[in-house]
């Protein structure tokens, strides 16, 4: 029983944090928002060069064969920097799903190629036009579709870096891959949305702390007042009690049982609640500045809003936790229990 991370896991996380910290600064956000560019090719190339797009691919598909627990900190770092590129959905949800069905798929041979996924739980496909292929759902089956062969209608997200599309297509004229594990894709996406939530939350708190140390009112930094301190402390408590759940969910997901699914759902609920609380707190601590376009906190709020309601709403995920609570043994000896051990 051990929650500590390995040196390799920490090393990958440090690499990702340094890379995002260097290539995805608030100045980069601003430039991208002004130019209207969804992606930054240089940044994406650096992500690819550091192996982040192939971590969760099996070795036979040219990947590193790592597990969700290895990618969790990468997703957290992506959240912290509000990464515009769809690294998480493409490399940690769509690509492993495709590899499980078609390990030798041509697109998997290019670590820079992005795969967009149309999951039945989501009304939109994000980043469809810039994807090399689309992985689409029809009656339980997965189809591998060329973006040229579909009709895309853009929808505008409040998150300036998310590109949403309604996809119209004809399954009969597309390549059918067969029955797909849509549940695993949902669990992975929910888990990594939770991990991004941790990063978003901490960034929101960090921005507010920096501001509260500098901004003075009544002759003192506002961060010296307890009313401000307590808001930020409460936001930090939310983060501290979401993180262990995200870690445990990442370690559990491979078991594919109800306790594992419930823990992923728990992680998704509380990590994005922590992000929501932190973002709203951060806006409040920034005062009128926090309500301005100029201060960056609104980007965190918007990403949090998008992730909260995609890949299963809080209500959807709460239902899964309730199912685990009401149909399986609970109690202090059941924290790490598995269904195979219930017999």
């Amino acid at each position: 029983m051990d929650f500590t991370l390995s040196d390799e896991q920490r090393m990958f996380a440090d690499t990702a944090k340094a890379l995002f910290g260097r290539t995805c600064t608030p100045e980069h956000w601003r430039r991208q928002m002004e130019s209207g560019a969804a992606h930054d090719p240089e940044r994406w190339q650096a992500i690819v060069d550091n192996g982040l797009t192939v971590m969760l691919l099996p070795e036979q598909s040219g990947g590193l064969g790592l597990a969700e627990v290895d990618f969790m900190l990468i997703a957290e770092a992506a959240g912290y920097c509000c990464l515009p590129e769809p690294l998480v959905e493409s490399a940690a949800v769509a690509a492993p799903m495709l590899a499980a069905m078609l390990p030798q798929a041509e697109v998997l041979g290019d670590p820079g190629a992005r795969i967009a996924i149309g999951h039945p739980v989501n009304p939109f496909v994000t980043d469809a036009p810039t994807a090399a292929v689309l992985l689409l759902h029809h009656e339980g089956d997965a189809y591998l579709v060329d973006p040229q062969d579909v009709r895309l209608t853009p929808r505008t997200s409040i998150d300036p870096f998310r590109r949403l599309f309604v996809v119209e297509w004809t399954p009969a004229r597309s390549r059918r891959l067969g029955a797909a594990d849509w549940d695993l894709a949902l669990d992975r996406a929910a888990l990594f949305a939770a991990a991004q939530g941790l990063g978003l939350a901490q960034r929101a708190v960090d921005l507010a702390v920096t501001y509260a140390k500098e901004r003075e009112q009544f002759g003192k930094p506002i961060g010296s007042y307890q009313a401000v301190k307590h808001l930020l402390a409460s936001a930090q408590v939310g983060i501290e009690f979401a993180r262990p759940v995200v870690f445990a969910a990442a370690a559990d997901i491979c078991h594919r049982d109800l306790p594992a699914r419930a823990r992923v759902s728990h992680a998704k609920i509380v990590a994005l609640e922590a992000a929501d609380q932190a973002a709203r707190t951060s806006i409040q601590v920034h005062g009128a500045m926090g309500y301005s376009w100029e201060v960056d906190v609104h980007l965190l709020l918007k990403r949090t809003l998008a992730l909260t309601h995609s890949w299963g709403t809080p209500g959807f995920h709460r239902t899964r936790v309730a199912e685990r609570l009401f149909t399986r043994p609970c109690g202090p000896d059941q924290t790490f229990a598995r269904e195979t051990e219930y017999a």
Binding site: A233, D333, F336
Partner: protein, 385 residues
Amino acid sequence: MELRYTPQQQAFRAEVRAWLADHVPAEPLEHFDATRAGFEAHRAWEATLKSGDWGMVTWPREYGGRGLDLIEWLIFEEEYYRAGAPGRVNQNGIFLLGPTLIEFGTSEQKARFLPPMASGEEIWAQAWSEPQAGSDLAAVRATASRAGDGGQDGYLLNGHKIWSSRAVFADWAFGLFREPGSERHKGLSLIFFPLDAPGVTVNPIRKINGHVGFAEIFLENVRVPAFNRLGDEGQGWHICMATAGFERGLMLRSPARYQVAASRLSALWQAHRASADPALEAEVVRAYMNADAYALSIYMTASKLIAGAKIGPEASTNKIFWSELDIQLHRTALAILGPLAEMLPEPGEHAWLDDYIFALAGPIYAGSNEIQRNIIAERMLGLPR
């Protein structure tokens, strides 16, 4: 990261479970804060625990423990709460002072105080707060003056302590005393005194549940040997903060306590679902998630400590989380009970109301949640004082 118990840990769980099944009293004991008889029944239970070497499993064998690690302690606690075993009347000793003694005590002090602590022969109370020193603990006024020439005769203790849990029936107390003339965090020492020593007067204080669970203590020229001082003179504040770290960070409130309560809440909901407000289901799920999150967080903390880290200011987040989850959980239970909520329990019924009233103390004791939020803001987030 490996979230599975080893075969040895599983065997340990089975051993604890079997022993508890054979020894836990069939009928609940009278509360240790309610009467002297209830207190002594709990002391007898501590002796029974000691007979199986279960007094405090993490302590070294020579002091009455089993030399086990924190994961095994958590397993023990899980089985303990699962079995519905009696509350630990000596929690101030075994969970707070004990770990502090192990860190700061001399080998003579450990040999003197730990074994009777593990066996319940000596039950401890905490004597920190004073009428003018609550959240502002560094404002304590009680003094320890050196007795005799050069202090070879130990100390004379004088002052007024208050809100001391268990002090009405306990044998010993550990308190914070200052060198006369010293101020604030300087000149403080942590000193033990017997509650029946000449010059000690204990007055019970009734709590909102009617129990006389805490007390005020008057000390008038109470003579104690220098042996009763833990750590160096003037090191009291530092030691006190270490104790508070154990208290808030790990030992005072086992996750198992809340996991048992969350399971009980789930059963209550399922029994009343047909007639209760459907919106309460989300609150029941929330209570379960909170208890689970707290357990996972404590396993994470234990992993860090086993890997060599120390408990830091993040201990304050724990205290806020468990105290608030306890209130949310019990408010939900009372909402499910609806018009039955105000009714004192009949024999054999679970005392939701008692647990709710007790939960209300959580944000106050062990350092109020407002103080914890200050600690988080200043020491975790680095905001200015």
